[in-house]
């Protein structure tokens, strides 16, 4: 039943075990779009051989000066709760890329995603005293991030903008981020499809979008998504399915439009 694992088989080679909810989710995915990675940042495939399930994110390796890389998540959380900023920084390092990517897909704006990511961690730090290790730190942080991103987007939709950062603007941003302009046709088509997909994702209702992003982009399982979204698993299942159906319909419409054009 290979199809049943489609979401997980996409993990890059070397990333090791499948993601599991909770602490395992700290395993960082390799940047699938290597062209999106930035100078000075290595592909952050957690290839750690540490016995615990928390695998470090190797991004920002240059900046990794926390000295806490060897500690497990629970230890780091305990230290951070006692006010150890370095421990919290290590926690941030371990999951910042995934949080940031999720924020980016949730809000559709790179700059806002960066702010949201930072806000997420600051908020997490403030609430760290209330955090219990019943759920993984990553799951907990992700819950904060999703709530922040969705509320931010709701506010943004109500707020007039000086500059359009709508789908068109996003396409522009994407294009900006991917400067290769003389790629082969296939790559161009693939990128266009990705842009359409990203645009369609932004048009999705937020509850569906969050579920789909957490599942298909962040590769979390239903239980973790349910915990993050604080909804029953059945609801998660329904949202993912409906979200995908809606996405498929939107993509079909876009394809039709392009065909007509």
């Amino acid at each position: 039943m290979p199809e049943a694992r489609v979401g997980r088989t996409l993990l890059p080679d070397g990333c090791g075990a499948l993601l599991r909810p909770g602490v395992d989710c700290l395993t960082n995915l390799q940047l699938r779009g290597s062209h999106r990675s930035r100078p000075g940042r290595s592909a952050d495939c957690g290839n750690s051989s540490r016995p615990d399930s928390v695998q470090p994110v190797e991004t920002n390796a240059v900046n990794r000066t926390t000295g806490k890389q060897h500690l497990a998540e629970a230890e780091l959380v305990a230290l951070a709760q006692r006010g150890d900023a370095a421990a919290f920084e290590e926690l941030v390092l371990r999951c910042q890329d995934r949080v940031h990517n999720a924020c980016y897909r949730l809000c559709g704006n790179e700059a806002e995603a960066a702010d949201l990511t930072q806000s997420t961690f600051l908020k997490a730090y403030r609430a760290l005293g209330r955090f219990e290790l019943r759920s993984g730190f990553f799951t907990w942080v992700f819950r904060i991030a999703v709530n922040l991103a969705l509320s931010h987007r709701r506010q943004a939709l109500r707020r007039p903008r000086l500059v359009a950062d709508d789908a068109e603007g996003q396409t522009r941003l994407e294009a900006v981020s991917e400067p290769e302009q003389d790629d082969p046709r296939g790559r161009v088509l693939q990128r266009e499809r990705q842009e359409r997909l990203a645009a369609a994702l932004q048009r999705l209702d937020e509850e569906f979008r969050a579920a789909v992003i957490l599942k298909d982009i962040e590769n979390l399982d239903y239980a973790a998504i349910a915990e993050i979204l604080q909804t029953p698993i059945g609801t998660v299942k329904s949202r993912i399915h409906r979200g995908r159906l809606a996405l498929r319909a939107m993509l079909a419409d876009l394809d039709e439009d392009r065909g007509c054009a």
Binding site: G33, Y125, L197, D216
Partner: protein, 588 residues
Amino acid sequence: MAVRECDRFGAYLSAYVDGELTPARSAEIERHLLTCADCKRRHAELRDLAQSLAALPRLAAPPGLATEVRRAISRGDAAHRSETPRPWWVGLLNARAGAAAAVFALALFTAWLAWSPVASRWDAQEELRRTFPPAAPSAETPAPPEGPARGDGLVSTAQPERAVPPAAHVEPPSQPPVAAPPAISAVKPPELRVAARDTVSDSPSPPTERSSPFRANSLEVTSIAADAPNADVPAAMEVVIAPRTAAEYDAILQLLGTKLEAKAQAQGLPVAAGGAAAAEPRRDAEEIEKRPAGGGGGASSVTSANDGDLPRVFSVRSSSARDLLLALAEAAPGNVDVRLEFGADAVTQVQRMFDSAPAAEDPAPPAAIADGADGALHGDEAKDNQAASDRTARGQPRERALAEPSAAKETETRAAGGGAATNAPPGAAGPAPTESASAPKPGSDANAPPVAGRGGARGSENKTPMFRMERRMMRSEANESGRAADLEGRPAGEDDAPRAGIDLSAAIEPLRWLAAGATEFAGDVFSVGRAVIQPPAATSTNGGILVRVVIMPVGARGTDAFASDSRDQQMPSLALPTASQPATRGAP
């Protein structure tokens, strides 16, 4: 049967794709897929879609984010850790319902004042004055006294019935405060209405005839200035903001709009981000340490890129205007002198767009610009060059361009005006000479970058919205309300950025224009590249901090626009002619 099975299994297809079904259910669906082509096709589509989503490029977190978080935490550690859940009514304060309730309560209170025999004997105004001591001179004078205690909310001059005059009409420091439109005070808490003034009007330099729309005023918040350690400011420090999108444009705009408010909140400034300055107001600094660095829950941080060496570069990120300002304020251990500078091409483009507007159709915008409290923006070239030279001596590359403009860029530089003199004495409150939109602009010179031509063309096509916005701004200024419909057409009451009694439109305007221009220039996308805050030259006695917003090209087209003169070259940073005399506070 088959139909019923399709209906029954259809909802499970996604879960099947995700491997989230029980083995028994999966086996059922597998069997069904073998017999149902329709479901098999749908399954394949869902699977492909999931794969496509998983293959979307991933965006790594910005470099240094963790460090920024840590710094933000360390700045506001105590406040963060002691944070307790907000009481339920706090949310109301931010809700519209809360606003409505406040209005209702105010109405009740007013009615009580009118009818109550007790109230009739009570001098409400007098009570307000007692509650909020005026400390009038401190707000509008360049060198305000210590002012009210820091805890009182910033505000030196906060009289409820008086607000700070709009920037365009700010009186010179020596003149008594000017009564402000009551509308502002009506919507602002007393502690936010204060201690701020536009220093541009103080510049004594005679206005020069410039038609560039990019004339922003140097803004000064006296409460900040009051904390200026003067000579103790570091020789060079940059705070780099990197707005790349509309949201960050907003953040910058909001920063300017909420500058006063945020500054007021951060009245303890300066806090020396690098420890190089601000040793003087120790007490203030300590108090600031207890304050949440993020302000209203947003994220802000200031990261020093190269501590110890000058110039120190700080990266400022923020999710809200207030946070941004707080971050800036913490990074700026002296007076804050906001200056907006724009890259040559962006300036040229927008200016050409500006130029292309028929004067007969819309002669007002330039006048609005000229009148918009930016008289001091003109004719600062001498000081500009002086300041640029000063900074050049400190090895600041962007200023080098300003001090040594290439022939190709000279026109743009002049077009945008110079204005780097942080220590320029204030003055020149009079409105600048109004120029018609059709006046010849240096930006339209033949040696302007090629992109300018395209920008001009587009600007010509799309000028209407820009000018409509500009007119709106004009009306705002004409009303001296500072709160009339802003660029977005929002009623003033909905503006998230309190104007704090000062008309910041002159400073905001260039950004607004650029923001609008970014949408207009579909062919050449520009964004605000970065803003730089710099302390004044070492010789400065005022300890100002400069904020320069430099336009950088974005995207392939934007890069193409700069192709002719290489992106790596130091673009002439067009200093908006500004002049400020940051006021200094007496010893704490």
